[in-house]
């Protein structure tokens, strides 16, 4: 850890320690941040999360990263389907199934 020399740095560090002791831990805050994406948190929890994020770089990153994942799926729903790492054949219908469905559609289509 780098040495903190300035008075301001020391005071800030002491304040962060003091505040960190009184706030829920990272484990709880990560849980709350996830919950906040699906429901409205009570006021007390919202304040706790805000204060915790003020002093905790890890939880700040954590929050940004889970939002990144959420937005990835929400804003580009097709990209997941399009990027094809799967071996050939597993990303398209098998020939059997293709013939079966064609036959089915053909039969029913004619009678209608």
């Amino acid at each position: 850890m780098s040495k903190i020399r300035s008075l301001f740095g020391r005071v800030k560090l002491a304040f962060n320690f003091w505040l960190g002791r009184r706030l829920p831990s990272c484990e709880v805050v990560t849980r709350m941040m996830s919950d906040a994406m699906d429901r409205r948190l009570p006021l007390k929890e919202r304040i706790q999360v805000k204060l915790h994020l003020m002093i905790c770089v890890w939880c700040t990153r954590y929050g940004e990263q889970i939002v990144l994942v959420r937005n990835a799926l929400r804003q580009h729903p097709d990209k997941l389907t399009q990027s094809d790492p799967a071996p050939k054949g597993s990303d398209s219908l098998s020939p059997d199934a293709r013939d079966r469905m064609k036959k089915m559609l053909g039969d029913k289509g004619d009678t209608n």
């Binding site: 960190g20 429901r39 890890w58 954590y62 990263q65 990835a72 929400r74 389907t81 293709r98 469905m101």
Partner: protein
């Protein structure tokens, strides 16, 4: 811009300005509708309104299959769903209004079939979730268990800086490959809840009903899913760069 104008007009309360704001809003919506119809025109390859069931398999089969496979993560089940979709579409083709493209229409039907499949699976195994089992091992290792700061991130294991804006990340193919791989690694129930919620944006109340789980179980599931995905992405994608 329209929103701003509207807000401003509300703030000032002047009728003239508020009328301006409303016009701006209308103009914007009109423009948006126009651009949507343009996109729609591009998508429709045959003439709109005319359905050709014989060509569905060739035209949309693979797309629908991939759509189902990403969500169901089961090749056989995905095939069944696509077949059922075609059947249902054939029966209901009289009701096809022609105001959306064929593919959009078929995808809509497929979504319902996928939800049905999820529901059927949920009914088969009516077990309450064992939350202890769902605890991701990796995530438990992330936090300090002893010492001065129990429950806080371990200094070495804390979330790393990905040093990339979301937009940049979305541009990269590796990101999507990693995300797909990580989604496949999730336990089935977790993946279902997460995919329904984020990919299809189904309201939480409906997911709870579909998967037959309790409200708080759902929140825990989502938390675990996000924690595991984030960790998996960091390890497989962010660290590899």
């Amino acid at each position: 811009m329209a929103m701003k104008a509207l807000l401003f007009s509300v703030a000032t309360g002047s009728k003239c300005v508020s009328a301006l704001g409303v016009f701006a809003l209308m103009y914007r919506q009109e423009r948006r509708a126009g651009s949507e119809s343009l996109i729609e025109k591009d998508k429709v390859t045959s003439r709109p309104g005319a359905l050709d069931p014989a060509e569905w398999v060739d035209k949309h089969g693979d797309y629908l299959y991939r759509f189902a496979r990403v969500r169901l993560r089961d090749d056989g089940l995905a095939e069944d769903c696509v077949q059922e979709t075609f059947l249902a579409a054939l029966k209901a083709r009289a009701s096809f209004a022609g105001n959306s493209s064929e593919r959009t229409w078929l995808t809509g039907i497929l979504k319902h079939k996928i939800t049905d499949a999820f529901r059927a699976q949920g009914r088969e195994k009516l077990v309450n979730l064992d939350l202890e089992v769902l605890l991701p091992v990796e995530s438990a290792d992330l936090f300090q268990r002893h010492g001065e700061w129990p429950g806080h991130f371990k200094a070495v294991e804390g979330p790393a800086d990905w040093s990339m804006s979301p937009e940049e990340a979305y541009e990269r193919n590796e990101f999507w490959l990693a995300l797909k791989k990580c989604l496949d690694l999730l336990p089935p129930k977790m993946a279902k809840a997460f995919i329904l919620r984020e990919l299809d944006q189904v309201p939480a109340s409906e997911i709870v009903e579909t998967l037959n789980i309790s409200q708080s179980n759902f929140w825990v599931l989502m938390h675990r899913a996000r924690a595991q995905l984030r960790y998996c992405l960091e390890r497989s994608w962010a660290a590899a760069r």
